[in-house]
Symmetry: C2
Subunit: 413 residues, 2 copies
């Protein structure tokens, strides 16, 4: 593909060279994301809500200012890959062990019930089993990012409930990745014989387990690779290369690229340079991740939501998504006491990046219709919007309630 360059189509808006057009789109997307995020945050909503809304406004169904083309798709994909890399970077095997039994229970139970409800709903509206399980997978992942941000804003990061929520959200992410591997393999199997399907599935799960276990161990023992003297940015560039490499490897194995990126993040989290990496990744993400969310929003076909039937569907899906997480997680956290269990249940409700990414994969693969895609994105946004105020109210309500950890460590942070 060659790109002609005519730099002299002076003020001739329609006849600009392709690169200028793409630059203009990048500029629009980036600015819209910043403005959307700023407005959302001033309204005390998660930034991602503003970015997706901005994308929806710029997209074909409202203003039509941007058209999803290959460069934008690729930037959005890189954004998603780095986003999941950073989620992986926040995931430490050791810390998972510390949060212990309750968080594990909450995480697992908070995956099973929404998955079952989501799958059941999709079966009910008439999808086949593999497609329905793909829908179920989009119901699963709690947004660790959104919840952590809210808990941080409330100054509640040291409470037992917060630790359980964050630990469970991480377990949640790992299970969501396994589940995504499972449903993509199942989806691959439609029309293929069962033994082949089994092989694909085993290879997918094997990839995840081997990389996660062996990779983290290798990294923990030898940080040699990362101690080169010449280039001060070497640890970062090596880890970015690892991230891209495992993303490609995951794609080759029929898994989503983001699964590889997530595993790369988990591996990188075991190095001594983890804090540096997190800090250096932040500016990169500040530039690239908005492309992912704006493109996500731009793909929403608002017309697909424009009927009473579909809005009712959205209502049902949102209620199922909330009920699944809330019931699953609060039941599993009952040992903390009823009030704490309620807080944990509410804290696990927001769906975020991972669910949105799964929805995007479903749309690209032709598994989701415009309607299902729009419903799942809208559901993710709604759960993200209602959780922060609910959590705030609950914490205000129980400020004097029992919380052993917070009593010990309240002054630390």
């Amino acid at each position: 593909m060659t790109i002609s360059w005519e730099p002299f189509q002076f003020f001739g808006g329609n006849t600009l060279d392709p690169l200028t057009n793409v630059l203009l789109e990048l500029f629009l997307v980036f600015v819209a994301a910043q403005v959307g995020a700023e407005i959302a945050q001033r309204l005390k909503l998660p930034a991602v809500v503003g970015e997706i809304t901005a994308g929806c406004l710029l997209g074909a169904s409202v203003l039509g200012w941007i058209h999803i083309n290959e460069p934008l798709e690729v930037l959005a994909e890189i954004g998603a890959v780095f986003l999941l890399f950073s989620v992986g970077l926040e995931t430490r095997v050791d810390e998972l062990k510390k949060v212990g039994r309750v968080a594990t229970l909450v995480g697992i139970s908070g995956v099973v019930l929404p998955f079952v409800l989501g799958t059941a709903w999709a079966l009910y509206i008439g999808d086949d089993i593999p497609r329905s399980m793909f829908v179920g997978a989009a119901f699963v992942a709690t947004s660790a990012g959104i919840t952590a941000r809210v808990l941080q804003d409330l100054g509640m990061l040291n409470r037992t409930e917060s630790r359980v929520i964050l630990g469970a959200a991480v377990i949640d992410d790992i299970l969501a990745m396994l589940l995504l591997g499972l449903v993509t393999s199942l989806q691959a199997g439609s029309g293929v014989d069962l033994s082949n399907l089994f092989l694909v599935f085993i290879q997918a799960i094997g990839f995840i387990v081997v990389i996660a276990l062996v990779g983290t161990r290798i990294m923990r023992r030898s940080s040699l690779l990362l101690e080169r003297p010449i280039n001060p940015l070497s640890p970062l560039t090596i880890c970015l290369a690892l991230c891209l490499g495992l993303a490609v490897a995951a794609s080759y194995l029929g898994l989503a690229a983001i699964i590889g990126a997530f595993l790369a993040g988990m591996i990188a989290a075991e190095t001594e340079q983890r804090e540096t990496l997190i800090a250096q990744l932040r500016p990169i993400m500040a530039f690239l991740v908005p492309f992912f969310f704006v493109v996500t929003g731009a793909k929403i076909n608002l017309a697909a939501l424009g009927s009473v039937d579909v809005l009712l569907m959205l209502l049902v899906v949102t209620l199922l998504a909330i009920a699944g997480k809330f019931i699953g997680c609060s039941l599993a956290a009952l040992s903390l006491g009823r009030k704490s269990a309620v807080i944990v249940g509410v804290g696990m409700v927001p769906r975020g990046e991972v669910g949105i990414i799964v929805a995007g994969l479903g749309l690209q693969a032709g598994i989701f219709s415009d309607t299902i895609y729009a419903i799942i994105i809208a559901m993710s946004l709604i759960t993200s919007v209602i959780t922060p105020p609910a959590l705030g109210a609950l914490f205000a309500d129980t400020k004097s309630a029992s919380s052993q950890v917070s009593a010990q460590e309240d002054g630390n942070k």
Copy 2:
């Protein structure tokens, strides 16, 4: 353009979905850049030499592992834009005033002579005047980055000669941008009447002067925009938006996008957050700039260099480029004494990013043939490779020579 997604073409290398193929190319480009840079730096060569060589190896004329497609072009363009943004960020109007008369003389004289020689050579081989001036423009810009790195490695940043070199390199960059604006306008004028050409030229120069003068003043007086409390990355994202916005604006005016990015950097350099911005930009550049250099290398058609005639041409061009800079700059620096003048002359020799970008623009615009493009890139590389050892030898030679500034401040750095 829609992208089909078939995640299940398991191990079927040829039938992978487009996004996976692009991811694979990104991975190859990124890793090749890192390996190339690492090898170059271990050989005491500038990293950019390794990155361009890696690109040349990956490209069509050797391995053929990567094909320049639109996403790669866009990533390379973003890399070039941020590269020039960071060059602008290092350019402070105040510091330019400090370096004073000698640096200004060196900068101007170091632009005029190479430009004249380059243009004359192109006229001699048979190009018309506008094309020849485009060739001349590619002869002009000293790589402040490469020289600064060498001086830093030698621990010579405090010497008078070093200050003159760096100051002159900055003036050099500004003049190169003005010149690029001039030659693109002239190029635009081929076949257009003179009054229109004059209008385009005035608008281009007007844009540069207005943005540079007014923009920096506005920024210096009110950093209000950048003092928002909500998002700690706001200064960065606002400046990135400014960078993309001015890049697009420059494109619309018929200028190279990088001119707008450079101006955005100069404006951002006047804010209080300059140091933070430089630090935050580094990881972003570590990810994106390699794409620019690898794509630059991949576009080299080695076959175009494969004849004795062309190699002789390359020799002549390189000698002209070296002679133009060396004579122009050392003459202008004679007031520092003969030895210092020689050091300044040698230090200004390496051509780098800006010259390479101009060559890329020339290729895209169809102004440069494959041969001219390959010759200019090769010339830039050769001047960058020979300067560091030459500078090292010269400084070793004159270690006891007179240098007022170094005597005062030797202990500081």
